[in-house]
Symmetry: D2
Subunit: 388 residues, 4 copies
C-alpha cells in the first residue's frame, strides 16, 4: 500500500471531539485573560466548534459541560448543532463549583451533599437523552487537602455508591467514562487519582463503564501509552481527554509539549485496531487556551492529532514485529522512529484537497474573516468562562 | 543547658511574618470557596494578623501585596498596624493581573508593557517608604507556554534590565528579595524558574538583592535544605515563603505535608546561626487556606514553624559533629532523629505561659469569640481575594 | 484505655520480616562497598536475622531470594532458622540475572526464555514446600528500554500466561504476591509498573494472588496510603516491601526519608484492622544498606516500623471520625498530628522491658560484641551479595 | 539560502565526542549483561571510537575515564588515537570507586581521603598534559544518604577547597568542566546537585571553570534548554554530556526518549551561535548501552545529534523573531514546529555523500564486518567495564 492509501484508510474514521468550554475564557488561579470574540452562550460555542469542523473535516462533535452549557431547551441546542454540521458529544458533569462542594461532592461526608451531587449526575443523563449524546463523562474534584481530613476508605464507599446509582440510570446505548487525576484541586488525596482506581470501579460497575485518560493527569514519569495498551487489552478504554503538559495539568495544546509521546499513544491505538469506530474510543480535546487565540489553537490541536496519527499509521507493522521477535532492539527502534521522522504534512494537505478542504486549515481560518466577525459581533453580554 | 533554656534562647527572636492575602479568599482555577468573616479591606486584614500575633507572640509583622492592598493613605495603614501591635513587613509586587501582562511583565516583548511593570515595582518601593517596610519581594509570573513563543535569552536581558532599575531605586536600608518558581502560571518556561537563576541575578545586582525560597516552588525531589545551606554559605539567603505541598505549588499549611522536611530546613538555619535577627532571614508564610478557616490555619502554621524550630534547636550539635567526623552514619542520623521525635509541645506550652500567652493558641482562638465577631460584623462590602 | 494498653494490643502481632539479601553486600551501579563481617552463605544470613529478632522481639521471619539463597538442603536451612529462633518467610524469585534475561524473562519474545523463567518460578514454589514458606513474592525486571523495542500488549499476554501457570501450582495454603515498580532496571516500559497493573492481574488470577507494595517503587507524588486503603478495601493487599526514598528506588531505611508518610500508611493499616495477623498482611523490609552497617540498620528499621505503628495506634479514632463527619478540616488534622507528634519511645522502651528485651536494641547490639565476632570470624570465603 | 546550504554551514563544525566507557560493558545495579566483542583495553576502545568517526564523519574525539583508561604510556595512547584518525577528548576523573570513597571523596570528613581524591584530580591534569587533552571533566558522586549524616555546608567548604587547588593546577589552555547531578549514587544529598551549585563554584573559580550539562541529571520537569540559554548568556556553558531518559539517569541514547527536547536544546545552541567551535561547547555523549549493541548505538546517537541540530538550523530565525516580537503565540510556535517536523534525513544523506561517506552509516556499519571481526578477535582477556 502507498503511504497515501494507508493514511486515507486510517484517518477515514478519525473524529476529534472538541470541548465547548475550550472556546470560552479560561486561565489559572492567578488570572483569566479574557479574549475578544469569545462566545457568550452554548449556541455560540457550537458555532465556533462548527468552524473547526468545517476547516479540518475531523472534528464532527462537541462536548458539553453542565451547568456551564445549561440551556432551557436542549433539543433546540442539539438542533442548532445539527444545522451547523456537528453533533453533541459527551456530556460532562460538574460537581465542583457549588459552595456545597467545598469538601467533596459524591464523596462528601454529608449525605445531603452526596444526594445533590448524584442528582446532578442523573440530570446529565437527562441531558444525554435530550441531546442524543451517548456518553457521560465524570470527573471528580473530590479529595482532601490535609492528612486525617477524611477517611480515604469511607470516601471510596461513597464514591462506589454514587457511581452505581448513576450507572443504573444509563440507557441501553449510553455509557459512562470515569476520569482520574493525580491532584488539583485537591492536594493531599484525590478520590480517583489514577487509572487503577478508575479501572477497578469500572470493572465493578459493568461493561457500560470505561476509563477515560486525560493525558495531563499523571504523575511525572508515568508511561501513558502503557496504560493505553493495558486498557485496550482489558477492553476498558473509553477514550481520551487530549492535551499536553510539561509539569502538571498544564492543559496545553495536544502534541505541543511532547509530540513523540502522542505518536507513541497513537501507535498503541493503531496497533490495537482502535481507530476503528467500532472500538468506541472517543478522542476528545480538553485544553485551556489561556494566552493563545482559541479557535486556531483548537484547529492546531486537531491537526496535531491527525498528523501524529498519520505518522503512527506509517509504522511498518510487520517489519516491526519481526525485529521485536528477533530481539533486535536498535532495528525495532529504528523502524519506529522512521515513521515518526517522516514528514506527513504534504500527504495530509493532499488528503484535505481530496476532500474539498483547504490544504492549510490554519491559513484558511486566518483568511476566513471569522475572527474579525465574532470580535465585532460578540459585544455585550457576558463572555462564557468556567464560572458560567 | 536545659532543653527549656535552649528553646528560649532560640525562639526569642523567631518572628513569622503572615501574609495579608492569606486572610482573604483564595482557591484554585476551579473554584474559590468564599468564607464568612473574610476581610474586606487591608485594615481588616491587619486586624486578623494582629489576632494571630496576640495569640502566638510570634507573628509581629504582616506582608502586603500591591495592588491588592492599595490604599489611599499608607501612613494610616502603617499606623493602624502599629496600634494593633504589628508592623508592615515585606511589600509584594504584583505584575501578573493586568490584561497587559498576558505575555509577561518585565520580560514582555513590548517595551511599553515592560515600562508599566517596572513602574509598578518602583511604586512598591514608594509604598515601602510610606509604610516603613524594608523589604521588596518580587515574584514574576513571566514566562511562556509554548516552545518558540519567545526568546528565553532575550527575556533574561529584559529581566536583568528591570531588576537593575529597581535595585538602583532601593534606599540605603532597603533590600529586594527575588523569588523563583518552577512553573505556574507559565507552563513551558518561567523566567525565574529556580534558585540558580535568582542567585545569579542577585549576585549581579549587589548585596541588597537576595534570594527568597518559597518551599512549594521546586521540582519533585529537590532537596530544599541543600539550597538553604548553600545560600546561607554564600550570604545570599533573604528569607522564606513558607507553605507545604504534596505535588506542585499546593500552598498548604507549612509543616502539614512533610514536617520532617521543615525540621531539616530549620536545622540548616539553626546550625548557621541564622535564627539571629542579625542574619536578616525573613520567615514569611505564603499559603492558601482554600477549604480550612483562615485565621486558625495561620495560627497553626505559626505554631508549626515554632515547633519544628524547637526540635531543630534540640539537636545535640557537638555530638552530631563528632559522629559526622567519625563517619558514623547511623549514629549521626540517630542524633538527628532523636531531636525530631522529641515532643516539644509541653515545653512550648510552658514557654507561652511564661510570656503571658495561652498555652494553647488554637483553643484560645476558638474560645475568643473573634470568629463569631467577624462573621457577624463583616457583612456587606466585597470580600478580599486575589483579584482585589 | 491507656496509651500503653493500646500499644500493647496493637504491637502484639506486629511482625516485621527481614530480607536475607539485606545482610549481604549491596550498592549502586557505580560501586558496591564491601563491609566486614558480611555473611558468606544463607546460614550466616539467617544467624544475622536471628540477632535482629532477639534484640527487637519483632522480626521473627526472614525472606529468601532464589538463587541467591539456593542451598542443597532447604529443610536443613529451615531447621537452622528454627534453631536460631526465626522462620523462613517469603520466597523471592529472581529472573533478572541470567544472560538469557537481557530482554525479559516471562515476557521475553523467545518462548524458550519464558519457559526457563516460569520454571524458576515453579522451582520457588518447590522451595516453599521444602521450607514451609507460604508466600511467593514475584518481582519482574521485565520491560523495555526503547520505544518500539517490543509490543507492550504482547508482553502482557505473556506475563498473564506465566502468572497463571505459577498460580495454578500454588498449594492450598500458599499465596503469591505480585510486586510492581515504575522503572529500573528497564527505562522505557516496565511490564508491571504500577499497582493497577498488579491488581488487574491478581484479580484475574484469583484469591491467592495479592498485590505487594514496595514503598520505593512509585512515581513522584504518588499517594501510597491511598493505594493501601484502596487495596485493603478490595481485599487485595498482600503486604509491603518497606524502605524509604527521596528520589527513585533509593532503598534507604524505612522511615528515614519521610517518617510522616510511614505513619500515614500505618494509620490505614490500623484503621482497617489489618495489623491483625488474620488480615494476612506481610510487613517486609526490602532495603539496601550500602554505606551503613547492615545489622544495626535493620534493627533501626524494625524499630522505625514499630514506632510509627505505635504513633498510628494512638490516633483517637472516634474523635477523628467525629471531626471528619463534621467537616472540621483543622480539627481532624490536629487529632491526626497529635498522635504523630507524641513521643512513643518511652512507651516502647517499657514495652521491651516487659518482654525481657533490652530497652534500647541499638545500644544492646553495640554492646553485644556480635559485630566484632562476625568481623573476626567471617574471614575467607566469598561475601554474599546480589550476584551470589 | 537553501536548506542544504544552511545545514552545511551549521554542521561543518559539529563534533560529537564519544566516551571510551560507552564501548565497554555497563549495566544497572541488578545486572551487567556482557556483550561479545567488547574492548579489553583503552586501545581497543579507541579503535571502536574511530569506526564511529569514520562512518559518521562527526565524532573526531574520544573521552577517557581515569583510572578505567589508565595506561603506562599515555603518549602512546594518544598516538594510537591519531593513527586511527581521532584524538583524545576530555579526561574524566573518577573518585567514586575506591573503598575509601564510601562517604565521599573531595568532601569526605577525613582530610586524608580528600587529599587522595584531590591528588587524583591533579593526576588527571597530568594525563591531559600527556595526551594533549584540554578539558578536565569532574563529576562527584559525593553526598550523603541520611539526614544528619554530614554537614551540607562543611562539605561545600571542602569541595571549594579541592576545586580551587585543581583549578590552580590547570595549564594556560586547559579548562575544567564541573558536572552536576540530582541524585545517585547518593540518595539524600549530592554535593553538586544542580546547575546553580556548579555555576556558583565555577564563577568563584574563574574563567577556566565551566558548567557541563548532563541531560539526564535533572529533577522531573526541569527545563533543560532554559539552563542552556542561561549559561550561554552568562558565558559559563562548557558542554554537554548527552543521553536521554524517561525517569532518572537512564543513560539511553540521546534523542531516543524525547527528540523534541533535543531539538529545543540545539535551538538554543544555534540561536546563540554556539555551534561555532570558537564558542568552545563540547558536545559529548555519556550513555550506557546496556541491552543494545554498543557501536551501532553510538553511531545512532551521533546521527540523532546531527539530525536534531539540522532541524534546529532550519528554524526561520527572522520569521520567528518577528512573530515573537508581535506576541503571536501560535505563529511563533508554528514556525518552530515547522522545522522540527521537516524530514532532514535526505539532506543529511546527501551531506554524507558529498563528503565521501556512506549515506546510511547504520547500514554501512552492519555491512562493514567490523562487528563480526571484533567478536571473533576479542576473545580472552577481560572485557572492559565500569570496574576496570
Amino acid at each position: 500500500m502507498s503511504e497515501m492509501t494507508i493514511i486515507e484508510a486510517g484517518l477515514r474514521a478519525l473524529a476529534v471531539e472538541t470541548a465547548s468550554w475550550a472556546y470560552a475564557n479560561s486561565g489559572t488561579r492567578f488570572k483569566v485573560f479574557a479574549q475578544p470574540g469569545v462566545p457568550r452562550d452554548p449556541f455560540e460555542k457550537i458555532e465556533d466548534a462548527a468552524v473547526v469542523h468545517r476547516l479540518t473535516g475531523a472534528a464532527p462533535s462537541v462536548a458539553l459541560h453542565i451547568p456551564w452549557d445549561r440551556v432551557a431547551d436542549y433539543a433546540k441546542l442539539a438542533d442548532h448543532a445539527k444545522q451547523e454540521g456537528v453533533k453533541i458529544g459527551a456530556i460532562n458533569a460538574n460537581v465542583f463549583q457549588d459552595d456545597d462542594y467545598k469538601l467533596g461532592s459524591v464523596t462528601h461526608p454529608d449525605p445531603s451533599v452526596r444526594r445533590k451531587a448524584t442528582d446532578h449526575l442523573l440530570e446529565c443523563i437527562d441531558v444525554m437523552d435530550l441531546t442524543g449524546s451517548d456518553t457521560l463523562k465524570l470527573w471528580f474534584a473530590d479529595g482532601t487537602n490535609y492528612p486525617g481530613q477524611d477517611s480515604i476508605r469511607a470516601r471510596q464507599d461513597r464514591l462506589a455508591e454514587a457511581l452505581a446509582e448513576t450507572y443504573n440510570r444509563l440507557g441501553e446505548h449510553q455509557r459512562m467514562l470515569l476520569e482520574y487525576k493525580l491532584f488539583e484541586p485537591s492536594f493531599y488525596t484525590m478520590d480517583v487519582p489514577d487509572w487503577g482506581t478508575s479501572y477497578a470501579h469500572c470493572l465493578e460497575l459493568g461493561p457500560k463503564a470505561q476509563v477515560v485518560i486525560d493525558t495531563g493527569h499523571h504523575a511525572p514519569g508515568t508511561n501513558i501509552e502503557f496504560i493505553v495498551a493495558f486498557l485496550l487489552r482489558a477492553n476498558k478504554l473509553g477514550g481520551f481527554d487530549f492535551n499536553s503538559r510539561f509539569y502538571a495539568d498544564d492543559d496545553l495544546m495536544v502534541g505541543a509539549a511532547d509530540p513523540f509521546q502522542l505518536f507513541r499513544i497513537m501507535h498503541e491505538i493503531v496497533s490495537a485496531g482502535a481507530l476503528d469506530p467500532e472500538a468506541g474510543i472517543a478522542f476528545m480535546l480538553d485544553q485551556c487556551h489561556n494566552i493563545e487565540p482559541k479557535i486556531p489553537a483548537i484547529i492546531r490541536s486537531v491537526l496535531n492529532v491527525q498528523e501524529l496519527t498519520a505518522k503512527a499509521l506509517l509504522i511498518d507493522a510487520s517489519a516491526l514485529a519481526a525485529a521485536q521477535e528477533n530481539g533486535d532492539v536498535l532495528g525495532a527502534n529504528e523502524i519506529f522512529m522512521d515513521a515518526f521522522y517522516t514528514d506527513v504534512r504534504p500527504l495530509l494537505a493532499q488528503w484535505r484537497i481530496d476532500r474539498g478542504l483547504d490544504a492549510d486549515p490554519m491559513a484558511a481560518y486566518r483568511q476566513s474573516g471569522y475572527d474579525e466577525k465574532i470580535t465585532a459581533e460578540r459585544v455585550g453580554g457576558e463572555q462564557a468562562g468556567w464560572g458560567a
